[in-house]
Each structure stands twice: as structure tokens, then as C-alpha cells.
């Protein structure tokens, strides 16, 4: 599972050397960012269901998508937000990459679901994050960066 620490350790192991000072600096940098990430993860976990419904209602409320797909969309958005919660905890994109993004296009296409609706929903969530009502600026920045990462992967 890719995270700040495992990336460093795997590279050091491949070279057969002990963690060097620069490895340790990299790990320390990720620890320094960790409180903001964990805050975002905590707030997201607490409001995950509400955020999902809110976003899907907004996207499907416009009438441009088939209502029959709405439940699947809720299920998937919920799943991806959970993976984002995991990414916020690990400090890397490992959970999204391994469990969400690889094979994603194929699955969504096979189910004949509109990818654009997903993108709109994630963009809606990103734009609705309110500082400081929802979370602190650093936490919001970490959260938005991951939403953008996912939107890029879907586009």
C-alpha cells in the first residue's frame, strides 16, 4: 500500500541501504502534514453519507440524467469518498489507485453509467467545501487535492 513511509522504505530496500537522512526528512514532512489530513478524514467520515446524498441530489436534480441510475451513483460516490478518506489517512494516493482507479473506467462503462455525472458530483463536493465551517484551510486543501486527483482520473 503506497504511503509516504512505505514509498521511502521500499526505495531504500531496493537499494539495500538503511533509511538515509533524506528518507527521514521525507517521512518527517509527511508527519508534519498529518494533523491536517487526519482532521479532513475525521470530518469527511462524520459527514460522508450526507455529503454523498447532497451531491447526487444536486446533480440528478437538474434532470439531465436518468433517475434509474441515481441509486448506483449514490453507492459509487459513497465508495469513492470512503477511499478518499483512506487516502487522507495514509497521506498517499495508494487506496484510490489500488482499489478505486485501476479498472474504474471499464467497470463504469460496462454498467452504462454516465461518467460525467460522477465528475459533476465530485466537483460539486469540492466547490461546496466551506472553510472554516467544514474544516480548516489546510485540511480543505488536502481534501480538494484528492478530489481533483479523482476527477482527473475519471475525465
Amino acid at each position: 500500500m503506497k504511503s509516504a513511509v512505505t514509498t521511502v522504505v521500499i526505495a531504500a530496500d531496493a537499494a539495500g541501504r538503511f533509511p538515509s537522512l533524506s528518507d527521514i526528512e521525507a517521512v518527517k514532512g509527511s508527519f508534519d502534514r498529518a494533523p491536517a489530513r487526519m482532521e479532513a478524514a475525521e470530518k469527511l467520515a462524520a459527514g460522508l453519507d450526507k455529503v454523498t446524498i447532497d451531491a447526487v441530489d444536486a446533480v440528478y436534480g437538474k434532470g439531465s440524467y436518468d433517475e434509474a441510475n441515481k441509486d448506483k451513483c449514490v453507492r459509487d460516490i459513497n465508495h469513492y469518498l470512503r477511499l478518499i478518506n483512506y487516502c487522507l489517512v495514509t497521506g498517499g494516493t495508494g487506496p484510490l489507485d489500488e482499489w478505486g482507479i485501476s479498472g474504474m473506467r471499464e467497470v463504469i462503462r460496462a454498467q452504462r453509467l454516465p461518467t460525467v455525472a460522477y465528475i459533476e458530483a465530485f466537483a460539486h463536493i469540492r466547490d461546496r467545501v466551506c472553510v472554516p465551517r467544514d474544516m480548516s484551510p489546510q485540511a480543505a486543501a488536502e481534501f480538494k487535492a484528492l478530489l481533483d486527483y479523482l476527477i482527473n482520473a475519471l475525465s
Binding site: 500500500m1 504511503s3 513511509v5 512505505t6 521511502v8 522504505v9 521500499i10 531504500a12 530496500d13 539495500g16 541501504r17 538503511f18 533509511p19 538515509s20 527521514i24 517521512v27 518527517k28 508527519f31 498529518a34 494533523p35 487526519m38 478524514a41 475525521e42 469527511l44 467520515a45 462524520a46 460522508l48 469518498l81 470512503r82 478518506n85 483512506y86 489517512v89 495514509t90 497521506g91 495508494g94 487506496p95 482499489w99
Partner: protein, 182 residues
């Protein structure tokens, strides 16, 4: 391999639940102890050859026949292999300590180690003794309870007494090596 964070993620994923406040308590502790963890890792990495060489020398002193003809550390080629293995075990312990999770030690070092040693005719009891000495030495250096000078430059600049909990964690990784060999 996993670290403390991805370990929490894997266990949350098996339940299909996001990581909430309750699960974050332990991780917040891990982050707040980060500097001590880094210091403890530096205590190992800055003293690798010292720890490994002392442990192997100690093991030989307790079993002087080892360096005599017919002993397992004779000729020097085999003694050198022994020193090398001591450093390899220390390296994986330092990885596990930095990651806060033993998976890297288990997967990449201990899996099959005992079988390899038995196939090569390495005396397991002596190997375990060397690991024990490395454990004692590493913990003493981390907690600054070694005799003589302080043996590492950390970034925490606190006293070694603050590293006690992390040193206990490091000791648990050495114990893992010992139980894998037993």
C-alpha cells in the same frame, strides 16, 4: 508492505467503513511521537556496524570454538557472512520501526529465514543469541542507558528517557526475529 496508516486503512476496508474519530486516536499518537520514532531509527542507523559487530563478537566470545577450525564462524568468509546478516536484520528492524508496523520485517526478512539457516547449517541458537545482544544494544543506545557517551544525534534533541515507549516497540521487532528463528 504496510505502515501504521495503511494498516488502519486495510482493517477499515475489510469492514467497508470509513476511518472515523475512534480509529484516529492511535494514529494521532503515532504522529505526535513521530520525532521520537525518527530519533530511535537514527539511533540504529548511526550505529549499525557497532551494534552488529558487538553482537557477533559477543556471541563468539560466549562460544570460543566458533572461530576455531571446524567452528561455524571459521574461516573468516563465514564470519563475514554472519556480520552481514546481523546488519541485514538491523536494516529490516529499522524499516519496521520507521513504518510503525512489522509487515516489512515479516515479508521481506523473516519469511523463510529459519529454513534458510537450517539449510545452510547456521547454528540457530547462536543466531538467536546475536539478535538478543543487538536488541539489548539498540534499546540501550535509544534510551541513552548505554555506558559512556550518547551515541546518536537525533532531531528531537530530547533525552533518551523519552524514547522508552519507542524503544519497547523496537525490542518487540527484535523479539519477532527471535520467535521466527525459534
Amino acid at each position: 508492505m504496510l505502515d501504521a496508516f495503511s494498516r488502519a486503512v486495510v482493517s477499515a476496508d475489510s469492514k467497508g467503513a470509513p476511518i472515523g474519530s475512534a480509529d484516529l486516536v492511535n494514529l494521532r499518537k503515532y504522529v505526535s511521537d513521530a520525532n521520537k520514532r525518527i530519533d530511535a531509527t537514527l539511533a540504529i542507523t548511526q550505529n549499525v556496524s557497532c551494534i552488529a559487530a558487538d553482537a557477533i563478537a559477543g556471541m563468539v566470545c560466549e562460544n570460543t570454538g566458533m572461530t576455531q577450525p571446524g567452528g561455524n564462524c571459521y574461516p573468516t568468509r563465514r564470519m563475514a557472512a554472519c556480520l552481514r546478516d546481523g546488519e541485514i536484520i538491523l536494516r529490516y528492524v529499522s524499516y519496521a520501526l520507521l513504518a510503525g508496523d512489522p509487515s516489512v520485517l515479516d515479508d521481506r526478512c523473516l519469511n523463510g529465514l529459519k529454513e534458510t539457516y537450517m539449510a545452510l547449517g547456521v547454528p540457530i541458537a547462536n543466531a538467536i543469541r546475536a539478535v538478543e545482544i543487538m536488541k539489548i544494544a539498540s534499546v540501550a543506545i535509544m534510551t541513552e542507558t548505554n555506558t559512556g557517551r550518547k551515541m546518536f544525534d537525533g532531531i528531537n534533541s530530547g533525552s533518551g528517557a523519552q524514547c522508552k515507549e519507542i524503544a519497547a516497540e523496537a525490542a518487540s521487532y527484535f523479539d519477532r526475529v527471535i520467535s521466527a528463528l525459534s
